[in-house]
Amino acid sequence: MSTAILSAPFQAEFDANSQEFAFAGVIRPRSVDEIAHSISALRHAIEQARGVLYINVKRLAQMNNTAFHAFSRVVLDACRTRSDIRFVVVTSSVVGWTERMFRHLGKIEPQITVEVYDSKFYPGQSFVEDTSFIPILRTQTKMTWRHERTILPRHGMRAGIHMADICCGIGDFAVLVRKEFQPARIVALDHSKASLAYARDVAANFGISDIEYTYGDASEMLLEDNQFDLVTCRHSLQIFNQPDLLLKELYRICKPGGRVYITNEKNSHCLGEPRSQSIQWTYNEVAKLFGHFEMDVELGPKSRRYLADAGFNDIRVESFMVTNLDGDPQDFADVITAWENVYAGEMAVKRGDPPEFIERFRQGFRDHIFAALHPKGYAGWPIWAASGRKPL
C-alpha cells in the first residue's frame, strides 16, 4: 500500500548564491538538541545574508512543533536585532499544513512574508490548468491510446506493477491502463485542480476507486524515492519550462531497474494533404507560439538525449503517427478543433498577435481538418515514445 511521503532523514541547507535556506524531509526531533546543528546553520545563514533570506519549505514533508518553534525563534529573534534583513518563507500549496503553519510568522513580524511558490511557477501554467484545455486532453488520448496500448509493453508495462502517471491531466490514460494492463497500483499526479476534478469524476462514474489521484508539482514531488516499476509522463516534459528537472524527479521515484516512459511531440511535423503548405505554416507557428511561453513542443526527437542526460540506460525510442485513418476521421478532426480553440483562440491572443495573423493561423488548422475529412485526404500528428531504465 504505502501512499508514501518522504521519510528519509531531513535536510536543512544554506545556498549562499541564492540566499536560500532550504528545509526538506521529515523533521520530528524529540528535543531541540537533536537539531542544534541545523539551528546554528540557520543562524549562520542569517549572519551571511544581505537584504533578503529565502526560507524554502517546498519539500518539507513534516515538521513537528518542537522544530517549528525552534527555527521560528531564530528567525523572529533575527527580525528584532537586524532591521536590514527581510525573510521570505516559500511554501507550497501541495503540503497544506506548511502554508497554514508558516503564515503566522508574517503576522508576528512585518519583516517576514510568506509566499506560495506554485500559484504561478511556469509560463504555460495558466493555459494548461484552465478548463478550456480539457477538450484537448480528452480528444488526444482517445487517438494516442490506439497506438500506445501496443507500444507500452515494450517499455515496461505489464500486469501487477506499481506505476505512476505524472502530469496525468484528466486521468484518462490511467483509467485505460488500469483496464488493459491491471497494474497493482496507480498513482496519478497533476498540478491542475480542474483536470484532477474531472479525473475523479470520471473515475467515480466508472466505479473506479483504486487510482490514487493526487495534486502535486511534478518537479518537487512528495512521493518517496525508488517506489515505482514504471513512471509515465506523457506530453508534459514539453509543457513544463524545465524538462530536465521533471525528468530528475521521475528518475528519483522510479525503482532501480524500473523504467520511465515519456511521450512528446514535434509539432512542426504535423502534416496533411491536400493543403499541405497552409498546414505546415500553421504548425511551424504552433512551435514558435509555445516557445514564446517557454514550452518546447519540438521535444519529441530530443527524448533520447534527455533520457541519457538524466542517467537512464537501455534507452528505447520509437515514433508513431496518429492519423485520420486510425479510426473515425472525425475523432482526428476533433483534436484539431480543440487545438485551434486554445492555440489560436487563447494563446495567440495572449501573446498579442494581430487579427490577420490569427486568421491565417486558424486557417491551417481548418485545412488540417479539411485534409482529415477529405475522402482522399491524409492527416497526421507524429509522436515520439521513449523510455529509459534506471540503473540497478
Binding site: T3, N65, G96
Partner: protein, 172 residues
C-alpha cells in the same frame, strides 16, 4: 438494521483502525510517534480524495497528539489510539495514563482551544516561548487543522483526548 438505526441524530463515526500497547513499550522509543502516525495516516487515507496529501496532513496532526502522550504520559498502563470517520471528518481517540497533577492541566488546555483569545495566545507562544508547551500543541491543532478537541475523563490514571479533524475539506 433499518435506516433510522443506521443514522442516529448526531451522525455516526465509523471505526477505521486502532492500536493499543503497553505505555512502557511506547515510551521506549521516540520514533514510535513518527512511525505510528505515518503508518496509521497511510492506512486510513487510501480512500480519501487525495490519498497522498490527506495522509501527509493527517500524519502531522496525529504525530503531535502522540508526542503529547509521549511527553506527558506515565509508564504504567496502556496507550490506545482509535480512529473513526464520519463524512469529511476523522476522529482520533487517544487514551493514555498520566500523572494525577496533569489531569487539571489537560482540562484547562483543552478548554482554552475554544476560547476567543486562542489565536492571540498561539501567536504569543510562537513569538515568546522557547519550546512549545503542550497547550500550544493543542492550539496548533485547533488553529492549523481546524480541530475540535474534547477531553473524556476516564478512571484515573487514564485520560482520553478526542480530536475531530475535518481534513478532507481542507486538503481537497
Amino acid at each position: 438494521m433499518n435506516a433510522a438505526q443506521r443514522q442516529p441524530a448526531e451522525g455516526k463515526f465509523e471505526p477505521l483502525l486502532q492500536f493499543e500497547m503497553e505505555m512502557g513499550t511506547f515510551l521506549s522509543d521516540w520514533h514510535h510517534c513518527d512511525q505510528l502516525s505515518t503508518y496509521m495516516a497511510r492506512m486510513i487515507s487510501h480512500n480519501r480524495t487525495d490519498p497522498v496529501r490527506h495522509s501527509n496532513f493527517f500524519s502531522s496532526a496525529l504525530n503531535e497528539l502522540l508526542e503529547v502522550s509521549f511527553r506527558g504520559g506515565s509508564p504504567e498502563g496502556r496507550i490506545g489510539c482509535a480512529l473513526y470517520r464520519q463524512g469529511p471528518r476523522e476522529r482520533v481517540k487517544l487514551s493514555f495514563p498520566c500523572p494525577p497533577g496533569q489531569r487539571q492541566f489537560f482540562r484547562e488546555a483543552v478548554a482554552r482551544t475554544r476560547k476567543n483569545d486562542a489565536y492571540a495566545r498561539y501567536l504569543d507562544a510562537i513569538s515568546t516561548d522557547l519550546a512549545p508547551s503542550r497547550e500550544v500543541i493543542l492550539l496548533d491543532l485547533a488553529i492549523n487543522f481546524d480541530a475540535e478537541i474534547r477531553l473524556e475523563e476516564d478512571e484515573p490514571p487514564s485520560i482520553t483526548i478526542i480530536v475531530d479533524l475535518p481534513l478532507e475539506g481542507i486538503v481537497s
